[in-house]
Amino acid sequence: MKKIVLITLVLTTALFASLKVDTTYSTLGAITKKVGGDLVSVTVLGSSKYDPHFIVPKPSLLSKLRRADLLIMNGGGLELGWLPPLIQNAHNRNIQNGAKGFLDISHSINMIDKPVAVSRAFGDVHAQGNPHYSTDPHLVPIIAKAIAEKLMQLDEENADVYQKNLDTFTQKWQEYLKGYDAELRSCKGKKVVQYHELYNYFLKRYGIESIGNIEPLPGIAPSSKHTLELLMKMKRNGVKTILQDVYHEKRTAKFIAQKVDAKVVVIPHDVGSVKGSETLEDFYNMIANRICK
């Protein structure tokens, strides 16, 4: 046992050279890697195959948070159900809310779908607006900038490197977006339904219309009454595409698809949640290809 502890301790110190950054989700992790390069080691806390609202607060996540120099979270209430007890029990003063090593990206994002009234009578609504902003590729440079600024603050010595990484990445990304936007122009005005309002940022960006959701209220399982209403609505609007995420049940979507002769497409909500979406570019390409084609 002692040996194991010693070995782990040695391994830990060997890694000390780089800044240890924990991100709550994988898209934030991928962007952090771009901006931080070799100077950071990134750990993603929540697996992208699971519902981001319901990450299991496993004790192993405590040991990850315990040693982090920086915690980058999505914010907007998405981590409310799992992150606070982890922060409380990891005993790491660097990453407490308000400490230097705590970054809430939602504070840099212009959030959409802000509810007029907030009550749990409307299901699991987030007071701060829709927190699923990572599907919009145009927000990537904004996120990258927020992360770079934080890294520069924490690691002043290497500020130039982070700035350079940010500039290179941003420039490349703008190039990428030119082609990306051009491809998506043909998709404007298309109508879709989704399971949960998970893709609203992407849909809004490219003028795709979301006609309804499979869940009757955010976080509430489908009911037959609501499903029938949705069927009628899809027929009226001629909707032929149903956006399904990887973690909800797929029965309802398949049932609806059969009734209205539509197609169910599985769309990744974070980098790596669907096989073949492991890089940022692959992730956004897959969203575009699957929604648009």
Partner: protein, 411 residues
Amino acid sequence: MQKKLLLSLFAFTSLMANSETEALKEQLQSQQETTQKLLSRVEMLEAQQQSSTNTSASFSQNAYLPDIAMILNMSAVYRDVKNSDYANYQVPGFVNNDLTTDDDNAELPFNANRGFNLNYAEFAVHSVVDPYFEAFAYLHMHPSELEVDEAFVTTTSLPAGLRIKAGKFKSAFGRLNEKHQHSWSFDEQALIYKSLFGPDAISDAGVQLQWVAPTDTYIMAGVEAFQGTNDMSFGYEDPNLFVGYLKSSVDIGDDLSILGGVSAAHGKTVTKENSNIYGVDLTMREQLGSYSALVWQSEYLQRDKDVNASRDSQAGLYTQIVYQYNNNYSTGIRYDRITKNEIDLSSYAGINTDNLERYTAMVEYKPFPMSRLRLNYSHDRSKIIDGARQDINTVMLTLNIAAGAHGAHSY
């Protein structure tokens, strides 16, 4: 000729220049006008904004209000034992609800009545205090009394993975001790906990120091000092209870996580004799999807308590499996048993006091994460009522509500 040409060229260019200057002047003019308009608009907007900013009350502190949640727990119970009999049950060697003696463990706060019960309305309050402390309070309101279930502060800025907790709080001994009633997987308290500590388990005024190791594998060690007022196991008038534990967890792949711990508590009884309690616990959780999991949790507790210079040695365990089918439904079974009861049981002469055990099964339905309906059945073979061994069957339907700003539960 050349001269003429040059002259005319000059005249031409100067004319051109003239007309160009005119054009530029006009452009400048219009631009100036635009700027002027914009400036006056900015001024107007600024004035508007100034008149609309900060009209809040000068001493308003609303933004600092703590998170407050209301937790309601109620039940409808069928039990094949009369309420008056149930109130006097005994677990031989552990629980003695004989009302003729002045025994403190006659407390039956949860689901005591055949019929309807309001177990409690709890107010859970949490707030960051300042950059150094967080504060928590859990106020239990029973139908006729208010109880401070927990009220404590924790540090947030200690170095080296350390944290101190102080106040009245539930010890992190074992696996279940720290959990609030509304977060238990079954509505009845685990038999060995109920038998050794009563309904509140180890919950007392004291201090706690916890350390999380800076290792890849989760390792946590903690020590606690309490007043030790719980006279079922401790109860000496001066501070007498010390608790220590070591917990560790490993993941196997993405989906299987294992948490284990060893705990020890040392205290003094009312008569200032030693009372030592040891515990081991193991939890395995296999995640089957975002909303589906299989959790197997077991715990073994042993108490060695000196009474009139002789040592009573008692132990028990529970093991439970809970299967969460989706975000609405789960089901589970639990087995409770007293495994060791080396104590003077002469007052139970002629009554069978072996094989004290209980079987429990439950099905729960959660329409939403904040509300829960649970049907709980138990077949209890651990009780003695009115001088005779009596098996008890209980069916209860419980409703638990967590409304408001209720913090997430830990693992």
